[in-house]
């Protein structure tokens, strides 16, 4: 069993976690085209190499970010989401959507 070093709980069996997929910044649902939305929902980079992903520790309901190498199955680094997302993301009604959204750090947070 692989070990996941959880930022909150320390090293735990990876079966206690769920992978939440690539860290991608959603397009603004109120403004983006259908194609952009489809791209966000369905298309994946599916990289062979280092990826940055959301992970979730089930027992403590804790989301965090892990960087790992999908070729060697090594976990390189894990850290709290606050390292990337410094502001709270507020989901608002369409007309207000432009004011909220992902934070600066989040919006620029591409692939490592």
């Amino acid at each position: 069993m692989k070990i996941m070093p959880c930022p909150l709980n320390g090293p735990r069996n990876i079966s206690e976690f769920v992978c939440g997929g690539e860290v991608v910044i959603p397009p603004d649902p109120a403004r983006c085209s259908a194609a952009e939305w489809a791209d966000y929902v369905f298309m994946r980079d599916n990289v062979a190499g280092v990826v940055r992903e959301w992970w979730y520790h089930v027992a403590t309901a804790y989301w965090f970010i892990a960087e790992r190498d999908t070729v060697t199955d090594e976990i390189i680094r894990t850290y709290p989401a606050s390292e990337l997302f410094s502001k709270r993301v507020v989901f608002t009604a369409p007309e207000e959507a432009s004011e909220a959204g992902a934070s600066e750090a989040g919006a620029s947070g591409g692939k490592p």
Partner: protein, 413 residues
């Protein structure tokens, strides 16, 4: 004793059987380049040559022929899917499979065993009935059966009600079959080579040459190859090769594992699948129990095995067949499968002109080897996507028109 064997045995010198011609020099241009020498790529090459007389074809594989998922799968063939698109498609594959040994002059050991999908819950019984109706409507032999009928087919199955997941019924699909997976790849390869197709092993495609939205050729570890048309058929590596051609896919690559037991005298005729218990089992022509389950919980591009998989699988298998407790697992392995969100393939044209794709085979693509080869060959040769596979177009995701096959494809293989 078949005549060919007699003739062979009477030859003094025991010539080594050669199924393929020696590997030729890689040329700098071909009419068609096929990336990926798994079952799908080889079948497409064969039908290009046979149905359309297109023989200036090179199949390039970074490893050895049929060494990807074709070598690793559990060889289950069936057509009892849930969506009409799926059922029609896989039914054509079964029809081709039945004639395949004759067609290729190579015995692929096609073995019709019957296929049972067990239902342990009311919901599963309902889905089974639904699938049976869709199947029958489209002319595929499928029916919902109940424990007394199941007992006749698999007397050794634990049908007791005193278990955690009692078996309430099953979807029974008599044409369900297994075949010798390697033989399918080798048979297509040999038959394609006889017609002039070139097979190149240990040639990895590292880039796709493009200009003005058209594909012009490929970069490989053995140099540049120009060509008129390209087919990508690389299963687990689909996203990586598509990225070379400049587009993304709705695909996530995860390991899928399987294992076999030591060889045992045959006692299990049909293929038995349990979705609730995440397992399936069949007994091969060698007597080994071939067992598999669900994909791994997270994605890696490494065909490593895990203990969790083996433990979970065996624990569930023992709920179905408790007497297997003393049987030993002989080996365990994994392949990297290309999963789509709707459990249906991605086939046909791509955003790049002359560049065709055959991907998204996930855990279910072995059974599609003949039909996808035939229909992709048709697409490449005529430039028109046949109706049978049109719905599997990449564009369906941009139209939010997925083909929800999950209920019939997960675990079922």
């Amino acid at each position: 004793m078949p005549f060919a064997l007699l003739k062979y045995g009477l030859k003094r010198e025991y010539p080594a059987e050669r199924h393929f011609p020696p590997q030729p020099e890689l040329k700098s241009t071909y009419d068609v380049v096929i990336i990926g020498g798994g079952g799908h790529g080889l079948a497409a090459a064969y039908y290009l040559a046979k149905d359309y007389g297109i023989t200036d074809v090179a199949v390039l594989d970074k490893g050895y022929l049929g060494g990807g998922n074709t070598a690793r799968n559990t060889a289950i063939i069936r057509a009892n899917y849930l969506t009409p698109e799926g059922v029609r498609f896989y039914a054509e594959s079964i029809a081709l499979f039945k004639e395949l040994s004759q067609e290729l002059d190579f015995n692929v050991l096609y073995s019709e065993r019957g296929h049972l999908t067990l239902a342990h819950t009311d919901a599963a019984v309902r889905t089974s009935r639904w699938r049976a109706e869709v199947n029958k409507h489209l002319g595929v032999d499928s029916e919902l059966i109940f424990p007394d009928q199941i007992r006749k087919l698999v007397p050794s199955l634990n049908l007791s009600e005193d278990v955690r997941y009692p078996i309430l019924g099953a979807l029974y699909h008599p044409p369900g079959a297994i075949a010798r997976h390697d033989a399918v790849a080798w048979g297509y390869a040999a038959a394609a080579a006889r017609r002039g197709v070139e097979l190149h092993q240990k040639v990895e495609v590292t880039g796709v040459l493009r200009a003005n939205g058209r594909a012009l050729g490929v970069e490989t570890t053995r140099g540049t190859v120009h060509c008129g048309r390209i087919l990508q058929a690389v299963s687990g590596s689909s996203s990586l090769v598509a990225a070379m051609a400049g587009f993304r896919l709705p695909i996530h690559t995860v390991p899928l594992q399987a294992c076999v037991s030591q060889p045992l005298k045959p006692f299990l005729d049909p293929i038995v699948v349990s979705g609730s218990l995440h397992t399936y089992i069949s007994q091969s022509a060698r007597g080994e129990l071939v067992m598999g389950g669900e994909t791994d919980p997270y994605g890696v591009y490494a065909d490593r095995s895990t203990l969790e998989f083996k433990e979970g699988l065996i624990a569930h298998m023992l709920e179905l067949f408790p007497f297997l407790a003393e049987i030993k697992v002989l080996r365990q392995w994994a392949g990297m499968v290309d999963m789509t969100p709707d459990f249906s393939p991605v086939m046909g044209k791509t955003p790049v002109e002359n560049y065709y794709i055959d991907a998204g085979w996930g855990t279910w693509g072995f059974k599609a080897t003949p039909v996808s080869g035939k229909r992709m060959a048709e697409t490449i040769a005529t430039g028109r996507v046949p109706e049978l596979i049109e719905r599997f177009r990449l564009g369906r995701f941009y139209e939010f028109k997925q083909i929800g096959e999950r209920g019939a494809a997960s675990v079922g293989h």
